[in-house]
Symmetry: C2
Subunit: 352 residues, 2 copies
């Protein structure tokens, strides 16, 4: 199918850019000898994970059990880290079932309740749980708050039956705070003679600064695979690195300076972070997407170098590609004006 025949709204992936993004990140991590464990949350597509693995990734990162299950079912990797506290008996049973199916399935934890729950279930299954301690090194989300807490929780958990301590994890790498936190934490383990095989950092912008974190053994990044307005705004990518383009139609031109596109927050999402608009119109970069309804994007053309007509197709680079993937059942891999492949977003909506 020709790209020009693709009905809108459609989430398209420029395959050349996708391949370049995968190769570049792998090369950057290879250069410093750091293992690459890409986060699948951005694409939720086993075929894309397989491209990442083929390029040299050691394994995958998933955020939820349901997400991991999709990638295990697809045979995408034999080594998966789930970067989420597993709480509740049903989820622990799910973890045990999944962990039997691949070589290594590890989780993170940041509190004693999670550690004890995992240990009890693991003991009943006569099976081990591999775990990393999640550390809050500045984000203010999950994670133990101090190196001493990390050390204390690791000791508590590794002394519970069937619990196998594998290391430390944080998100995202922040300099110098993350480096200082991990240096102090690693000293505590070294002084106690406890090996820490894995130190796992993350973040797409952080790929460019992995050399500042020599204690890290692996890096987890998601967004880099597609890139988006946020990545460009943070200096981590250029517009030409943005592989996800949302193909839209101008459906209304109610005033000389206003255009309405045929998708809103139910495709683009209302994620803004530190960005002002709701996405960048590739063909009219001086236009501003100033508002989203659920199925409409309102574009202010007053500064734009042209005025699209009703029926014209435009491409929008979203603010945040990871949430867009979660809105659609399939994305279209395009190259040289043709739709080369249609990828079901197999892990879309897998929030458990």
């Amino acid at each position: 199918m020709l790209l020009s025949e693709l009905e809108t709204p459609a989430v398209t992936i420029r395959l050349d850019r996708l391949e370049n993004n995968i190769a570049r990140a792998q090369a950057q991590l290879d250069k410093v000898g750091m293992a690459n464990r890409p986060h699948v949350k951005t694409h939720k597509i086993p075929a894309v994970a397989k491209l990442q693995m083929a390029a040299g990734a050691v394994g995958l990162t998933c955020q939820k059990l349901g997400e991991a299950e999709v990638f295990i079912n697809a045979g995408a990797a034999d080594d998966i880290l789930i970067t989420f506290n597993i709480v509740g008996e049903a989820k622990r049973e799910h973890l045990m079932a999944l962990s039997r199916r691949i070589g290594r399935l590890a989780v993170v934890l940041d509190n004693e309740t999670v550690a004890r729950g995992l240990s009890e279930t693991a003991r009943r299954h006569d099976s081990d749980v591999r775990f990393l301690i999640e550390c809050d090194t500045g984000m203010g989300r999950n994670g133990v708050q101090t190196p001493e807490e990390a050390f204390g929780l690791a000791q508590l958990a590794m002394n519970l039956p069937r619990m196998r301590f594998e290391g430390l994890m944080t998100f995202p790498n922040a300099f110098p705070r993350t480096a200082e936190f991990f240096e102090r934490t690693l000293r505590l383990f070294r002084d106690a003679g406890i090996p820490v095989p894995v130190v796992s950092g993350g973040g797409s912008p952080a790929i460019n600064t992995v050399d500042r974190f020599p204690m890290m053994t692996e890096h987890r990044a998601g967004t880099y695979v597609y890139n988006d307005v946020m990545q460009v705004a943070s200096g981590a990518a250029n517009w030409d690195d943005c592989a996800m383009h949302i193909r839209l139609t101008v459906v209304s031109r109610p005033t000389p300076d206003r255009a309405i596109l045929d998708a809103g927050s139910k495709v683009l999402t209302s994620d803004q972070y530190f960005v002002k608009d709701y996405g960048r119109v590739v063909e009219y970069p001086e236009a501003h997407i100033v508002a989203l309804s659920e199925e409409h994007a309102t574009v202010d053309l007053s500064l734009a170098n042209g005025r699209p007509e009703v029926g014209e197709i435009v491409n929008v680079i979203p603010n945040h590609c990871c949430v867009v993937s979660n809105m659609v059942d399939e994305v279209y891999g395009v190259r040289d004006g043709a739709v080369e492949t249609v990828w079901p977003v197999a892990a879309r909506g897998k929030v458990r």
Copy 2:
């Protein structure tokens, strides 16, 4: 299944509240003799539409053709209005195919390009297109800008082959601007001797003020069926009217004043509008959901009347229920502590 057995995250619908919301809106519109044409975008579930129809709705509103198709397939209504400009040959063909399947399928339009396209396709199919003129009566989105433009476009379109003018449409009702716009527009049609059978207004908060718009013949509202933080903040609903509760688990308590819940923007969405937080925690109303990641909600407990433990279940009323429906494959209808029904969100992701 008991509600207490339902895995998190889960989008639950309190059926008593849903039924009350449907009955109350119908009674309010019945009282002023205005037809009720609920918008399915909020729930995207044929079974809920059937409850709305059984309560007295005359038909349904859909935003996209794909959405309408789901409700037609389910036999939910014989009369559907699609409140979106239909652009492009493929979509026009889709419209023709759908319109043959029910008694009345109408669309809106706000420009000549859309009118001419519809007419050409309709002529080829030897079939009529029923249309309303979309008017921008203050929202600044789609719609003709003046009464004169509405009259002019209606005349142009109704003189095209196979185009059947049925009336005027706007969103949302705003007082007094919408009333003034429609009074002036209707005068133009009256003076020309052209009947305007349908005048269609919309908006959930506007259900409470339909008596201010005596020229309206029907009302389209979506959010009222579930309600949400925005509806409460706008004074259109109380907390006890909020039927959608997102069932979540506390997975981390990294500090005395911070809790992390097991869903983020991939369930709650980042919609904020004029609201400060990212949802209301029912059990801890003084807590504040201050940040969302994709799979985490960060809760500030500093003002809360209690401190939930890891593993505790909480319910969150979302800021905007319509976008939450679009995130999940199914919702759970609950009553008296039991899961009474599981509804697939059949039109989820139908953005074309």
